[in-house]
């Protein structure tokens, strides 16, 4: 990788000051950023290490939501009694990201800021109607994911925490790539007082998306059979060496049914 300056602030204000340099990048768990830098696909002039900023980590129940700090590692979400009690689907999702070594480093905020189209957390954030809280505003998940590896974050804007509303029922089922463990297709289903939300990751050419027809059917009848006869068009889905768009479209229907069944 190319050389960079290294900063390790111990306060949020310090981190934001270090990130005012337009070419600086925040370093969370580094599980995507460091490989990207090693391949010289990214060459930030400075890295701002966030692990020394205590207010960015932690998990707490806040009324009808679970609030998780951006620097909270996947392993801590997976093992959290608070998350397991309130949104077990979210704990299970975190426990299925990558592998144990990756989960020990990778973070919620890093995953959402990167918005890899095959990442798991974007599915949970969109299906649960999460709010992404930054140093300057609150962004609804609908407005946050704007495209492939693109988000509503402005230059220098930092995710501080994410608020996940607690659903009545939820489940996440993914078909992982056997090599990378990234989602070939992942479907997160959440049943809330306002209806059912279905988010699909791993498949869309523009990243995570919702499936309106599945949501309408499941809001009327929350059972796998409600999805009989419904399908997702292959247009707009990824085709690559792992799976073509038709296969992904088929998997979305299958995994959505499995998720509904798992949610109970």
């Amino acid at each position: 990788m190319y050389a960079f300056e290294y900063h390790r602030p111990t306060t949020l204000a310090g981190a934001l000051a270090d990130l005012e340099n337009a070419d600086a990048k925040p370093l969370a768990g580094g599980q995507t950023l460091l490989p990207t830098m090693k391949q010289r696909l990214a060459s930030p002039s400075a890295l701002v290490e966030l692990s020394g900023v205590p207010e960015l980590s932690g998990i707490a129940r806040d009324g009808d939501a679970v609030v998780i700090g951006a620097m909270t590692r996947h392993i801590d979400v997976a093992q959290s009694p608070v998350v397991a009690g309130a949104i077990p689907a979210l704990a299970a999702l975190a426990g299925g990201i990558g592998d144990p070594q990756v989960r020990n480093r990778g973070t919620l905020g890093g995953s959402l800021a990167n918005n890899d189209p095959a990442a798991d957390y974007p599915g949970a954030a969109l299906a649960l109607g999460a709010t992404i809280v930054t140093d300057r505003r609150r962004i609804a998940a609908e407005d946050y994911f704007t495209g492939l590896f693109e988000t509503a974050l402005e230059p220098g804007e930092l995710i501080t925490k994410v608020s996940f509303p607690i659903p009545q029922k939820a489940a996440y089922v993914k078909f992982p790539s056997p090599a990378s463990r990234y989602a070939l297709v992942g479907v997160f289903v959440a049943k809330t007082a306002d209806g059912v939300r279905v988010a699909v990751t791993g498949s869309g050419e523009s990243g995570v998306f919702r499936v309106d027809s599945f949501e309408t059917a499941l809001s009327a009848n929350f059972s796998p059979s409600a999805l009989d006869g419904l399908s997702v068009p292959a247009d707009g889905l990824n085709s690559d060496l792992h799976a073509d768009a038709d296969y992904r479209a088929h998997l979305i229907g299958v995994l959505a049914k499995r998720a509904v069944a798992a949610a109970g």
């Binding site: 990788m1 190319y2 050389a3 960079f4 300056e5 290294y6 390790r8 370093l27 580094g30 599980q31 460091l34 490989p35 830098m37 090693k38 890295l47 290490e49 692990s51 392993i75 990558g98 592998d99 144990p100 070594q101 990756v102 020990n104 480093r105 090599a179 990378s180 463990r181």
Partner: protein, 164 residues
């Protein structure tokens, strides 16, 4: 250059390093602890697995400077007083290797597995928990047997220690 200081296998070490130095480069090139291997260098294979503050991580995908102030354990730090760690002994007893290149990472990941999941590990759990480590020789059967034995003996050692 930045100053880094950490505890590696119980020894305090410090050095002036380029910030882009990976932890595995620091361990191998600066400290000459070459038991930690670089396999894929893309965080897939797990040959570079070490423990940082008690958790298994891939040292090819971690900056050395990110571990400033941390406690690091490598494969060289497992044996105590000339006696192999139970997980090392189990890999020897069950021949949980062929070429041996992945073995340091396998053992470090397996010790972490027992620390997280306890000593009573069934085969499915072991295979699932080893998803971050790749072996290109063995087909994994002897590795799984090794981990099962190592886990049992780590549990027995902990019980014996608690009884003393």
């Amino acid at each position: 250059m930045v100053h880094v200081s950490m505890t590696v296998n119980g020894r305090n070490v410090s050095a002036e390093i380029d910030p882009r130095t990976l932890l595995v480069q620091f361990l191998r090139d600066t400290l000459r602890l070459t038991g930690t291997h670089v396999g894929c260098d893309t965080s897939q294979c797990g040959a570079c697995t070490v423990h940082v503050d008690g958790a298994a991580i891939k040292s090819c995908t971690t900056l050395a400077i990110s571990c400033n102030g941390s406690t690091v354990t490598t494969i060289e730090g497992l044996a105590k007083a000339g006696k192999l760690h139970p997980m090392q002994q189990a890999f020897q007893d069950n021949h949980g290797l062929q070429c041996g290149f992945c073995t340091p990472g396998m053992i470090m990941a397996s010790v972490d597995m027992v620390n997280r999941c306890g000593p009573d590990l069934d085969e499915a759990t072991i295979r699932h928990e080893l998803e971050g480590n790749i072996c290109r020789c063995t087909g994994y059967h002897n590795i799984v047997r090794s981990v099962a034995q190592g886990a049992r003996e780590m549990g027995a050692a902990a019980t014996a220690q608690a009884a003393e």
